[in-house]
Subunit: 419 residues, 2 copies
């Protein structure tokens, strides 16, 4: 069993500020707390991105079918520019985006090269005007399309160095700063891979802005309208059908993030907490309730709706506690604390029968479970756990942090802070 | 000029609960506070949705090219089932979703019929088991495709009754409860209209789940792969290309909501507030800073990144205040309060030159502007406004509510509540 990774250091805790005096330290959740400055405004800067890509200090995080290259379960591994030259060329950012769009050929595979940001802790080396730090990129080395052979060579070369592409659905073993870097890369590679076609017109799209945008080009040099199976190339580009995303700014061209709510619900007397379990959980395992925000719903409304739909409990006041990026594939978990109405505590599981069980649990039992009964879903609880006791998610899950907050002072003093 | 609408009543304020004693009343922002229970788990219930559609109490909100049918700028108008029979048929939910998918024909236009929820304030009349209330639907009556004639007839018939489809980019004049109903319908109609094709495979998709899902059918009775211009129908359905969205659950099939951050930033000494203006604002108009969350970024990190990119200011602690749905087209505005680091208050506009200006403004000036200088973007300020004074967004904007919160006690006592 891999040891549980740390959660990130609370960023900018600023204990002497008015906000932190009132609200306590900021809780930084796992997958947040990246050391990289995304300098998002430089992604379209031709000179910057070219210099960053080819700088000797630059590190490349590699993914094969969304599995990241690692040294071991706690540490990512990185490639250098020379390891990738055969796959991505000397400089995939050599041409301007206007040129790339004009020359678009849907039958040619362009491996995704994603700019992640600058690690400003390492100010020696790369600089561009006032911006300094070690550049980080991610590259999709999945063997596919017209670069299958070159990508396979990169994969084999990395394996030859004793590195591996870490398989598995979720990677919660990485150290906290690298988990955040991995999360950013995974979310964006996944979004690009899931959206090869335009939802507005059905035609294949082209990745631009160093991986942060997909555009629907007006012409195509490939001879077939659909990239699937198309291999020949025309001498002049074929005009494509009109597309609404080419007029003004369309959200379809930008990465998608799905807001979800996850909430620790306390009883009206603030002595118990509502927990639920789904059928796929191991025995005795419970967690906080959660669900997707719906269109045109505030977070507070989504919290009340989901709690009522899943458990029958009616909530009053809802307060948002902290948030956690969740790159499987693209969720933003918005963590909240809600309190039941005096006459709204009755549990009813039959509205939306998603949960196998829901129950009110006393504070002492939750405190004990946070001490001895936490683990990842597929892992064993700690050595002090006694069979039959309550089991809860690990510290890397926001559910755990929300429960810590409510039993760590709030239920007694009203203080919402981390124990 | 239309009078400024109310903001919604704070829902579930529960002033006697521990959460509300500590955090104050919950702020309900405009476009939230819907009176409808979405009963989301009943959207796929064949019997329920059929009964709800055809019940005599049921109200239909109509949209023509996203313009809602209204009595006047403050009040929506509704149609009845008999007004729509020629367009949507007696019951578009007559067949099961399995049947609709099997019979899918991309050359036939099916007008979107969207289930919004039950108005539980009206418990007399419609009921389905324990669920009672007046059913609300929205219908897209935009004249297009194979139902152009029938849709035009509905549009003309409504105009004949003296009603109108309210044009314009934003509708902030509606009364608060109806604004929330409108927002839900608009967000979903827009998502369906923007996504006629599958981003995973490029083939046209079918709306199911009473408007809350689009699925990629495995076969098509139309003779052409692309709905554009396709009119003939095959005797047997044509198998379509494989699609990743048909395996397991894909977020591409569900409505998209883009999380955005909007933040009132206070100085380290808590005596000033950071405001910015874009070129498109009228003279003297400022607002809080805002921007989109990026993939794998917490809300707190997005707040710090956006403030630094747009203004150069470095923030410490960030606290989330309240949220607002923003259906233009699909944003969830997450409102926060952040405090500048002691040495981080210097303004620098050149990182991401989105703002024309940013400045620190004293509390008294903001209080005065909230009293006399608020208006919608295209509207005049109130009668007490003196030319040259600071102008700010109206109460219906979360920017206004965040500013009210920080000058309404927080900057003096640390209390984050609404003035």
């Amino acid at each position: 069993m891999v040891s549980q990774p740390d959660v990130p250091e609370p960023a900018h805790a600023e204990l002497d500020s008015m906000l932190s005096r009132k609200f306590g330290r900021e809780v930084a959740n796992y997958f947040s707390g990246s050391p990289l400055n995304r300098v998002s405004f430089l992604r379209t800067n031709h000179e910057f991105i070219t210099k960053a890509l080819t700088h000797p200090s630059t590190s490349f995080l590699l993914f094969n079918n969304l599995a990241p290259l690692v040294k071991d379960p706690a540490n990512l591994a990185y490639a250098k520019h020379e390891d990738l030259r055969e796959l991505i060329g000397e400089n995939p950012f050599e041409k301007s985006e206007e040129e790339l769009i004009k020359e678009y050929n849907s039958s040619v595979t362009l491996p995704l090269v994603l700019f992640l940001g600058l690690d400003e802790r390492k100010k020696e080396g790369f600089e561009h005007g006032i911006y300094k730090g070690q550049p980080f990129f991610a590259v999709d080395v999945t063997p596919k399309g017209t670069v299958e052979k070159q990508a396979s060579a990169v994969v084999e070369s990395m394996k030859g160095k004793g590195l591996e592409f870490m398989e598995g659905r979720m990677h919660m073993s990485l150290n906290a700063p690298e988990a955040a870097v991995y999360a950013q890369a995974r979310a964006l590679l996944d979004w690009n891979a899931r959206n090869p076609f335009c939802g507005g017109c059905g035609q294949p799209t082209l990745s631009i802005n160093a991986g942060m945008k997909r555009t629907c080009p007006p012409t195509d040099y490939a001879s077939l309208p659909n990239a699937q199976g198309a291999t020949t190339t025309e001498a002049t580009p074929r005009p494509r059908a009109d597309c609404a995303t080419r007029k003004g700014i369309s959200n379809l061209c930008f990465p998608r993030t799905d807001p979800t709510v996850i909430m620790a619900v306390v009883s009206h007397d603030a002595k118990r907490v509502l927990l639920g379990r789904s059928k796929r959980f191991p025995p005795h395992w419970y967690s906080t309730l959660a669900g997707f925000c719906e269109p045109a719903e505030s977070v507070e409304e989504a919290v009340r709706r989901e709690v009522w739909e899943e458990s029958g409990v009616h909530l009053g006041r809802v307060v948002i506690h902290s948030t956690q990026p969740w790159p499987y594939p693209a969720n933003l978990m918005i963590g909240a604390i809600g309190q039941a109405l005096p006459d709204g505590e009755k549990i009813h599981l039959e509205h939306d029968p998603e949960l196998e069980d829901a129950k009110w649990v006393g504070v002492d039992e939750i405190k004990e479970a946070l001490r001895v009964g936490t683990s990842g879903l597929g892992e064993d609880a700690g050595p002090e756990y006694k069979e039959g006791g309550l089991r809860l998610p690990p510290q890397t899950a926001i559910a755990n942090q929300l429960l810590r907050a409510v039993v760590g002072g709030f239920l007694e003093s009203g203080e919402v802070s981390k124990i």
